[in-house]
């Protein structure tokens, strides 16, 4: 009996080789996601909503497929093969592992990645400006330049910028290297405090006292978990603390220019729409987040000896006034 089942299974799969025939005006977009996770899920929702806003409605003139690999790379690989086999108009790949498996499987189908921090290092594109092949997309790399702009707008005289980071976190190290390079380019200096565990964050922040004019925190998981420790050092020593993500502002940072993953998905969706309308991936530069939200916390500023200007507060999307 078992052998018969096997034969049926193999036979059926061979028969299934014929691909699906699509109605002519129906476009097909396939979305693959490495794992379900709030940020990635909102990116997926953003892509769907952006498509709908441009008149691509699932079930009407669009066939939208979505699969999650549930964190399993072998399944991610099979999802990629499944999508390539159905030759959709565009494959959207959310997060680096998914994007790489799709890139390995898809030769000619346009691929748009989302939530990939460094597409060049991930070898998805040749360069940010000219991807060169069938893949482009939106990166969730921190807009470090814009963050430094904000810092300089608030504190034009700050020369030495302190940061706390975990040298054991690969993404954090990459960001710190980039930050240092960009700060140096503007004649600013980066003062680093290392913390390998959340319990070391306080000590690392204290090591910056007397050396740094301001503190800027990246999205380092270890440090953000203990952001309050850095804020308390900032308040006690009058060193304003800036953050890369908006959530840290309500935890006591002075200001942050961040993005949310829903908007990240919307921007990805916009790229998909352009491809559906005839744009070529090879010449579409990989994008970073354009739409950033400014969050400010004037009360936290006061505690760190900094008065935020009226026009900055006016520019803010959200004004948090945390009092202790």
């Amino acid at each position: 009996m078992a052998r018969k089942t096997l034969r049926t299974l193999l036979g059926a799969s061979l028969l299934a080789a014929a691909s699906l025939v699509q109605a002519e005006d129906t476009r097909v977009v396939a979305i693959t996601q490495i794992v379900e996770h709030p940020a990635l899920d909102s990116a997926h929702q953003g892509v769907k909503d952006e498509l709908a806003e441009h008149g691509y409605i699932d079930g009407e003139n669009l066939r939208l497929m979505h699969e999650s690999a549930q964190g399993n790379s072998a399944i991610a690989s099979q999802i990629a093969r499944k999508f390539v086999g159905e030759s959709p108009d565009v494959i959207v790949a959310i997060a680096t592992p998914s994007a790489q498996t799709v890139a390995a499987a898809a030769r000619k189908i346009p691929v748009v990645f989302s939530a990939v921090t460094d597409p060049v290092a991930a070898k998805l594109v040749k360069s940010w400006e000219a991807p060169g092949a069938n893949i482009t997309g939106v990166s969730d790399m921190l807009p470090i330049e814009k963050h430094i702009d904000l810092l300089q707008r608030v504190m034009p005289n700050a020369k030495k910028i302190g940061t706390v980071y975990n040298p054991g976190e690969a993404n954090a190290v990459a960001l710190i290297e980039l930050l240092e390079e960009r700060l140096n380019a503007r004649g600013l200096k980066l003062i680093k405090g290392a913390a390998t565990k959340t319990s070391e964050v306080l000590g690392a922040a204290r090591s910056l006292v007397g050396k740094a004019d301001a503190i800027y925190l990246t999205t380092d998981n270890t440090v953000i978990s203990a952001a309050e420790a850095v804020v308390s050092v900032g308040e006690r020593s009058n060193i304003p603390v800036f953050a890369a993500d908006t959530a840290t502002v309500s935890r006591g940072a002075v200001a942050a220019l961040g993005f949310d993953y829903y908007k990240h998905g919307r921007q990805t969706g916009a790229m998909v729409v352009r491809i559906l309308e005839g744009a070529e991936t090879a010449t579409m530069p990989a994008e970073t987040m354009e739409e950033l939200d400014l969050f400010v916390n004037p009360a936290a500023g006061e505690r760190m000896g900094l008065t935020l200007s009226e026009d900055l507060i006016k520019d803010a999307k959200e004004v948090v006034n945390s009092d202790k």
Binding site: S73, A74, Q78, T96, Q100, K123, V173
Partner: protein, 301 residues
């Protein structure tokens, strides 16, 4: 329904996991050693191969080093068990979690891309009569067959027999003068060497090594092993090894069908449940079959 590319994709992943199933056959079936090291040695193989390939090594040589790295990881687990008397399951968990850090150290970051590197697959893409998506299937089938023959011959050799005796009855084996500790160390090392090989090949076909690649490898390997045994009764070593590969391929085809089973109302988030159901069925079915045949033969008698 399943497209041609999805079908070849299932074969490809199945062949790679067939190697994992070989490894789990040695530790789990031959040595009776529940070994979770594989969740770490799979990405270890990928990491070692990726780093060496990027450093400009010959991809086959890099893959060979990945096998050695996997063997070293397995040896550590077995030494923790044999020499330090740590419970086998716990010993393997210790090695597995340690490997996470080791893999991060080896790669230097969580993800190393191989998309533009020369891999074991690259020269095959120029072969005229092979389509792009068939290349990895053909190559991995060759690797799986060679591994199968080597393992089969090994299991029939004197050392192989001693290893089987160790797993079957350690006390008896010791009485026969077999150094059972050494056999366990060698067997678990061999098992993880095969898993390291699978990881190295997987990274090369996927275009990247990622630290999270090992999640669930043990469950899928077990599912393949047990599923294969449900189809082909493992009465001889050859049949058991063939069952590993067949089981891994069937498992992958089942996943491919599940991904295409919109008709059944199944969705992506149901995949883990489907896996659990498949493993349970695969474990239960052979028992049901034996019961059934027992009852039938009793009736005859």
């Amino acid at each position: 329904m399943l497209s041609e590319i999805a079908f070849y994709g299932a074969l490809e992943t199945g062949l790679i996991y067939g190697l994992v199933a070989f490894g789990i056959y040695i530790s789990f079936r031959v040595l009776d050693f529940p070994d979770l090291t594989v969740d770490g040695s799979f990405p270890l193989g990928a990491a070692v191969a990726a780093v060496l390939i990027i450093a400009g090594w010959n991809p086959w040589l890099a893959t060979g080093m990945a096998v050695l790295a996997g063997m070293a990881a397995g040896a550590v687990t077995a030494i923790l068990n044999v020499k330090l008397n740590i419970l086998n399951l716990l010993a393997s968990i210790l090695t597995m979690i340690a490997l996470y850090s080791v893999n991060l150290r080896i790669m230097g970051r969580p993800n190393l891309a191989l998309l533009t590197e020369e891999t074991v697959l690259t020269p095959w893409y120029n072969i005229e009569f092979l389509e792009y998506h068939q290349v990895s299937v053909v190559l991995f089938a060759i690797v799986a067959i060679i591994s199968l023959i080597l393992l089969w011959r090994f299991m029939k050799s004197e050392t192989g027999l001693a290893m089987r005796a160790t797993g079957a009855n350690a006390r008896m084996a010791r009485a026969q003068g077999i150094a059972t500790g050494g056999m366990i160390i060698f067997g678990v090392a061999l098992s993880n060497g095969l898993v390291g090989l699978a990881g190295a090949l997987f990274a090369q076909s996927q275009g990247a090594a990622d630290v999270t690649m090992g999640v669930g490898v043990i469950v899928i390997g077990l599912a393949s092993l047990i599923g294969g045994e449900a189809v082909i009764t493992p009465s001889t070593v050859m049949r058991a090894l063939v069952a590993c590969v067949i089981g891994a391929i069937i498992y992958r085809l089942a996943i491919a069908f599940a991904l295409n089973a919109d008709v059944l109302g199944l969705q992506a988030q149901d995949l883990n449940l489907i896996t659990a159901v498949l493993v349970t069925l695969a474990i239960v079915l052979p028992g049901v079959r034996t019961n059934l045949s027992n009852r039938l033969s009793r009736k005859k008698a």
